[in-house]
């Protein structure tokens, strides 16, 4: 099967070029100024063609929490957001800490047959922070990394062993950085707004301490490590200085950390509750700088869908998390590219090339012979975000009413059109 994309602007690592792109089967066969081929054709005039977006931090919730999301609804949401490939976190029920669960998720993804789904295995059994999961067997079943996302492995000795052992299998630890003792029940950033609202705050230090620890382990062991959802200016500074001295650390952040501040919590809207919490303007500015200077390598969503009953409760009782996969491209484009902070090529690097590179995934670039995972967007088309229109089961977004640019028109996975906007 061939698919021709004509008249579009291709967003490559070297910049934007006007060219046609011919897909043959699952690969990009040819890129040239004018290709004529009798086959299914997309007229991409006025639109931009990007390497398919790879969201390496997603919660699909299946198995166990299908009320919040399942593989099918999560993948539908992904392709609607222009995402061709997700990596899903292991905090399911049962926890994805063994090859059976990994195989189950892969099987469900094949049935659904929308985007590519790469499971992430738990670092420790049941995410208990004590004994290592069957990391090797999970690798054979298809995991692409390990993480105890949602919490840190508190015991540094266990974390050390996990990093050493996983490295033998060429797997990275994705570190959710949080000192649980210091968080101590905090639900928002600790500062002026937590005082104003009487909500228990959590210090930046609760995140920074674990970032520093995981950098220290990486440096001492000379093993790469990846820091999840960086939210603090001080955490970004720790990563920057580690990179400067050659530590093999990579990092990600999410749109809410470079768009929002904790001013939004004063509404007590539980859709603003996320872990780590959105912080202050100086953090937001620092996260943007860290994205620009390469300290933070990629943009992910930490897509955390929840049902209404998880969110329509007291702020303290509400679940942490934002349903973000359907809005990440438009938000990132609107707040980073349209504002002139970075080029579209640089954004594509953060959302596709770098995640692929960090986890050794296929895709992530536009080139002849590369995987035909593509996202076609109309940058001029604007719309207003409305969580109730999400196809994800999780309607929980703090971005309701935000006007954004960059509508996804086509999501193509392995040469097949999986979504039309």
């Amino acid at each position: 099967m061939k698919l021709l994309i004509k008249n579009g602007t291709l967003v490559t690592a070297d910049g934007e070029i006007k060219a046609d792109l011919l897909v043959n089967g699952k690969v990009i066969e040819r890129i040239a100024p004018a290709i004529n081929e009798k086959c299914e054709t997309i007229d991409a005039k006025g639109k931009h063609v990007l390497a398919g977006i790879i969201d390496m931090h997603v919660h699909l919730r299946e198995p166990g929490f299908e009320g919040k999301e399942d593989v099918e609804s999560g993948c539908k949401a992904a392709v609607k957001g222009g995402v061709t490939q997700v990596c899903c976190m292991p905090n399911t029920n049962p926890v994805c800490d063994n090859a059976v669960v990994v195989t189950y998720i892969k099987h469900r993804a094949e049935e659904v047959n929308l985007c590519k789904v790469n499971p992430i295995g738990a670092i420790t059994k049941g995410q208990n922070g004590e004994s290592l999961s069957d990391i090797g067997k999970m690798k054979s079943a298809g995991i692409v990394a390990i993480s105890d996302d949602g919490k840190s492995v508190a015991n540094s000795a266990v974390m050390r062993l996990a990093m050493e052992y996983a490295n033998d299998f060429n797997l990275k630890c994705l570190c959710h950085c949080e000192d649980a003792n210091l968080v101590d029940g905090g639900v928002v950033n600790e500062g002026y707004n937590s005082t104003l609202c009487g909500l228990k705050g959590s210090l930046r230090a609760a995140e920074d301490i674990m970032i520093a620890r995981d950098i220290a382990l990486s440096e001492s062991l000379d093993i790469p490590v990846h820091i999840c959802h960086v939210s603090t200016y001080s955490g970004a500074a720790l990563i920057k200085s580690a990179k400067e001295r050659g530590v093999k650390v990579t990092a990600e952040t999410c749109p809410h950390y470079f768009i929002l501040t904790d001013d939004i919590i004063t509404s007590y809207d539980t859709n603003t509750k996320v872990n780590p919490p959105v912080r202050e303007e100086k953090d937001r500015q620092a996260i943007i700088s860290a994205l620009k200077d390469g300290t933070i390598d990629c943009i992910v969503t930490d897509h955390a869908p929840h049902s209404l009953k998880d969110k329509q409760v007291e702020y303290n009782l509400a679940a942490f998390g934002i349903s973000g996969i359907e809005t990440s491209f438009a938000l990132s484009y609107t707040y980073l590219v349209k504002t002139g902070l970075m080029s579209l090529s640089e954004l594509s690097e953060k959302m596709s090339a770098n995640p692929a590179k960090i986890l050794g995934l296929e895709g992530g670039g536009l080139g002849e012979g590369a995987a035909a995972d593509l996202t076609i967007v109309d940058l001029k088309e604007k719309y207003v975000i409305d969580g109730n229109k999400f196809v994800s089961k999780g309607k929980n977004t703090p971005f309701n009413g935000f006007e954004v640019f960059g509508a996804v028109k086509y999501t193509i996975v392995d040469g097949e059109i999986k979504y039309r906007g």
Partner: protein, 309 residues
């Protein structure tokens, strides 16, 4: 006329609204102190107290306020532990609403719970204390007491000492007193001072003496024993030695300064027994005023409901 169907906090009240409540409470106090403290102003109205935390004075104060004005009242106690597994707050609120109640007084360990309830019920929601957030009726009765003692609030210097960080009383007093033009000085161990409280207009002091210097009113806040287990301070005796208010500290205050405490007081911890029972103490007057202020509030909210709903 108040501007909302609910009283969720003083953060969102105007100075005019606060004065309106305090003024109405003057009349209510007269009724309360009269031989026959019974009116039918709120005849046919119903009030529910919905308490997710223990309370003696706030709850009985609201219940008596309702009774004195002829309203019927029912109380519901919910064990804190059942908050997480039982009926949701929204369901509870809708159920109560369906019983055609006019007011619900809620006390809840979590900030924002009264707001959530208010958004889902037609009844007027009165915040009887939510987490570390607000306890507006306590601050109203404190301000009423201060105004009675000094004839005004504007220009008063009020010192608040104790566990500010976990105190909704301190927060509501801070919001209310600043709106009425008083100065608020605070002192506590650093472990009990919330971040950036100064941006809300409080002055955080370096010593008891500095906080109390020239004060018209000195307010002690209850130290909860569990805070000690949480490590916020090493022992009650150490707390009282370095942070408690005693006669020596009170010498720094104005001669006619008064002593306030929201209760229940730990004798010899926040305040010495001599101060609690002494002539400067208005602690029991505060309790009386609490009933008057709540009577006033119920009446004003009834007026609002009649005019707007």
């Amino acid at each position: 006329m108040l501007k909302n169907k609910d009283l969720l906090g003083l953060k969102d009240c105007t100075a005019e609204e606060i004065y309106e409540i305090l003024d109405a409470a003057v009349q209510m106090k007269k009724l309360l102190k009269s031989d026959c403290k019974q009116s039918d102003m709120l005849k046919g109205k119903a009030l529910v107290t919905l308490f997710y935390e223990n309370s003696t004075r706030t709850r009985s104060s609201f219940e008596l306020a309702a009774k004195y004005l002829g309203a019927s009242e029912v109380n519901i106690s919910v064990a804190t532990s059942s908050v997480q597994k039982g009926e949701t707050l929204i369901d509870t609120g809708e159920t109560l609403d369906a019983m055609q109640i006019d007011y619900v007084v809620i006390r809840h360990p979590m900030a924002g719970a009264p707001k959530l309830l208010a958004e889902h019920v037609k009844a007027s929601v009165l915040n009887g204390g939510d987490g570390m957030h607000e306890h507006p009726t306590q601050a109203l009765l404190d301000m009423f007491t201060m105004r009675e003692a000094f004839g005004k609030i504007k220009g008063l210097k009020v010192a608040i000492l104790g566990d500010i960080k976990h105190s909704r009383v301190a927060m509501s007093n801070l919001f209310g007193l600043k709106k009425l033009g008083a100065e608020v000085f605070m002192y506590a161990p650093a472990t009990m001072i919330p971040k950036e409280i100064e941006k809300l207009g409080a002055r955080v002091c370096k010593s008891r003496e500095e906080a109390v210097e020239g004060a018209d009113a000195v307010m002690g806040l209850r130290i909860q024993l569990e805070r000690q287990h949480g490590g916020l301070f090493p022992s009650l005796s150490e707390y009282s030695k370095f942070y408690g208010v005693n006669d020596a500290v009170m010498k720094y205050a104005k001669k006619n300064a008064v002593v306030l405490h929201p209760g229940p007081v730990n004798r010899g911890v926040e305040l010495t027994p001599g101060l609690i029972d002494g002539e400067k103490s208005l602690i029991l007057e505060q309790v009386t005023n609490g009933v008057a202020v709540r009577m006033a509030l119920l009446k004003l909210l009834a007026d609002y409901r009649e005019a707007n709903l």
